[in-house]
Amino acid sequence: MSGVSIICFAASYAVALALELTRLLFRSGVRGAIMLAFGVAGLFAHTLYLFYRVVESYQSAGALGGPFASQKEWYLIAAWLLAIIYLYLTCYHAKVPFGLFLLPLVLGLIGVGVFVADPRPMGREPASAVWGLVHGTSLLLATVAVLVAFVAGLMYLGQDWRLKTKAAISSGLRFPSLERLQQLNSRSLVIALIMLGVGILSGVALNFTRSPGQPPLPWNDPVVLVTISMFVWLLLTGVVGAAYRPARKGRRVIYFTLVSFVFLVIALWSVLSNMTQHLGRGGWRSGGTGRTAGVVHRLSIG
């Protein structure tokens, strides 16, 4: 079982996506079951892969490395969470093509994890390990929540277009109602806001509990700035929505979500493109071994 490779689950998700795409072409009675089978197979292989990565990191580091052994794994875990959400939604709404929107994101995250993200494993220091884990987990969940909100937003715009142009009349595809999509979008954004808040606070704690001799992460680091901007943006849209009813209805809310997604993309891009000292780039990892206080922090996006 330890021979499970990324290709195994990526290929399963890709087949599930291909089957989702055939929804646009024809109807089939058995497609749903086959699609679900590939999705479940992919998730199973994905889970096994992550499990063996944790075991391997334990064996090589001599201590349980936790789920965030490397930046690459951070992306693979984000993809894994999205795959679970995809399967959950597909089981409950078999006729809705959620996979058309979620599976490209799952495959995209796997692709970034494999081809762009840093695969080097990192150690951790006990003093910062807890804050690092909280920081990494909360920002991971915030990322997944923003992605789900983004998908709900895209589906909302798609459904709005279908209803406006009467395309829903002739199309065989079935989308959730606008009301349901707006709910999914809003709830995901609330979760993203909370998780971002936790992520930022734990990041501050992480910065203060760094090992002696390690330079602090500058507060004007691009990743920190983008993350805080995204938090402020989500907070503002929430406050404006609560005070001014039209701002929390219809397409306007969806456009707000698209902006949040842009923030997320900028944050991820900043992390991946060496513009930041955030993940041990530059001074942070100059300590030699790379087992610094920012080890877990390095795996977070913020």
């Binding site: 459904q159 279908r162 209803l163 406006k164 009467k166 829903a168 009349i169 002739s170 989308f175 959730p176 109602s177 606008l178 009301e179 349901r180 709910q183 009813r245 039209p246 209805k249 219809g250 397409r251 306007r252």
Partner: protein, 423 residues
């Protein structure tokens, strides 16, 4: 199987006749009580909907009332001329009556095939008969099975999923794509015609509770509000009602649009950009088509919906053979089960006789083998029990096989004679 149905439906009788023969729930209770007094020992269920009035009767013997007797009862109850209604009535006996009941309950015999109300109406008719104590074992089984068959048809075919009337398509295929639930939505109905009433019915079925009716004639608005549990509102209050509505159904006979883009723009400012589903069922249209371009407005006209109705009708027709096959299968199964059940008395007697022989033989054997311990005795008991079951199995199977093709009277007689079973 002495099940008999006499009735008329949308195919055999005009609406004028059906109206004269229809029963309210209270009238149905009275009629069933009178029927029970007039035909004691006969089971009866009375099904009365807009499209059919049917009397289902059943009796253990051949004492079920004839077509003429049921027709006479109907004519007397409603004060109608028997000669006028008799030619409009149809009747089915035995398996055909059961097949008819299953088709009715599954809405295959409805004016709009697949309409979802009929299983509920069949259930209601059965409940009234149960309360009136006119449903006996045969009709209990028949109606309970009919409701199960209706559920099977609904789950194994898409016949009830495809709406074919314009109001039902508007609600199920369009409104549900915008709103997830209707119990917290405000519905505004403009006009008080039949189409408005039918649409309200579908919206109510989806859970809509807050329904306001606006009509030029306040009297008609009040009448419709009274019938549908809505709230009438003066015509002049239309803009305010539109500002707070989530769903609008417009069915007036106005020759010019009652809502222009300019007028709507003024109302739109008060709406907080909440989504608005407008169902314009009027011809000519009540809402200017340009309103559809406004943000968060989803405007549909009759033409938009007609296409879906036609497509659904075609899809539904494709499902009909599958649904009919289910009805045939279930009718055969029901008839066979019922006939098999009717052989129960003979089987029971045969088993009782053999059981008594078995017990007698066991008693004798245990007296002779007094050294047998309790475990040994139990083994012997089990062995005799298995032997008895194995001996009974072939005649029971033969009876079951025969029951599939008809009542196995000859076989029952042969069994009674061979094993000297007493009546």
């Amino acid at each position: 199987m002495n099940v008999h149905v006499v009735g008329c439906n949308h195919r055999s009788a005009s609406i004028a006749v059906r109206e004269r023969l229809a029963f309210s729930t209270e009238q149905a209770r009275t009629a069933l009580r009178e029927f029970r007094d007039r035909f004691p020992g006969v089971e009866a269920v009375l099904l009365s909907t807009c499209n059919r009035i049917e009397f289902y009767t059943a009796a253990e013997t051949d004492s079920s009332p004839s077509l003429e007797q049921v027709a006479g009862f109907l004519a007397r109850f409603h004060g109608q001329d028997l000669k006028e209604i008799l030619p409009l009535l149809y009747e089915y006996h035995g398996d055909a009556a059961i097949r008819h009941l299953f088709s009715v309950a599954s809405s295959l015999d409805s004016m709009v095939v697949g309409e979802p109300q009929i299983p509920f109406q069949v259930k209601q008719a059965y409940q009234v008969a149960v309360e009136s104590q006119t449903a006996g074992p045969l009709l209990h089984t028949a109606f309970q099975t009919a409701l199960k068959v209706a559920r099977r048809v609904a789950s194994e075919t898409t016949i009830q999923q495809r709406r074919v009337s314009i109001p039902s398509v508007a609600v199920s295929d369009f409104a549900r794509q915008i709103f997830e639930r209707f119990d917290d939505k405000r519905v505004l109905v403009i006009g008080a015609g039949e189409m408005a009433e039918e649409t309200i019915r579908y919206l109510r079925a989806e859970g809509a509770g807050d329904i306001t009716i606006v009509n030029r004639s306040a009297e008609r608005a009040k009448e419709l509000a009274h019938r549908t549990g809505g709230r009438p509102l003066a015509w002049e209050a239309l803009p305010q009602a539109l500002a707070t509505a989530d769903v609008v159904v417009s069915t007036t006979g106005a020759e010019e649009p009652i809502m222009t883009v300019q007028r709507f723009a003024e109302i739109e400012a008060l709406r907080d950009q909440r989504p608005l589903f407008i169902l314009d069922l009027a011809v000519p249209r009540d809402f200017d088509p340009a309103i559809a371009d406004r943000p968060e407005v989803y405007l549909y006209s009759v033409d938009d919906l007609r296409e879906v109705c036609e497509r659904n009708r075609a899809e539904r027709d494709k499902e009909l053979p599958k649904a009919r096959k289910i009805i045939d299968e279930e009718t055969l199964r029901f008839a066979a089960d019922w006939r098999h059940r009717a052989t129960g008395a003979v089987i029971q007697q045969l088993r009782a006789d053999w059981e008594s022989i078995k017990e007698e033989e066991l008693r004798r054997l245990f007296q002779r083998l007094s050294q047998l311990d309790e475990r040994g005795r139990e083994e012997v008991r089990q062995s005799f029990h298995r032997l008895l079951n194995k001996l009974l199995h072939p005649p029971m199977e033969s009876l079951r096989d025969e029951a599939r093709h008809g009542f196995p009277q000859a076989l029952l007689d042969a069994l009674s004679k061979l094993f000297q079973l007493k009546d």
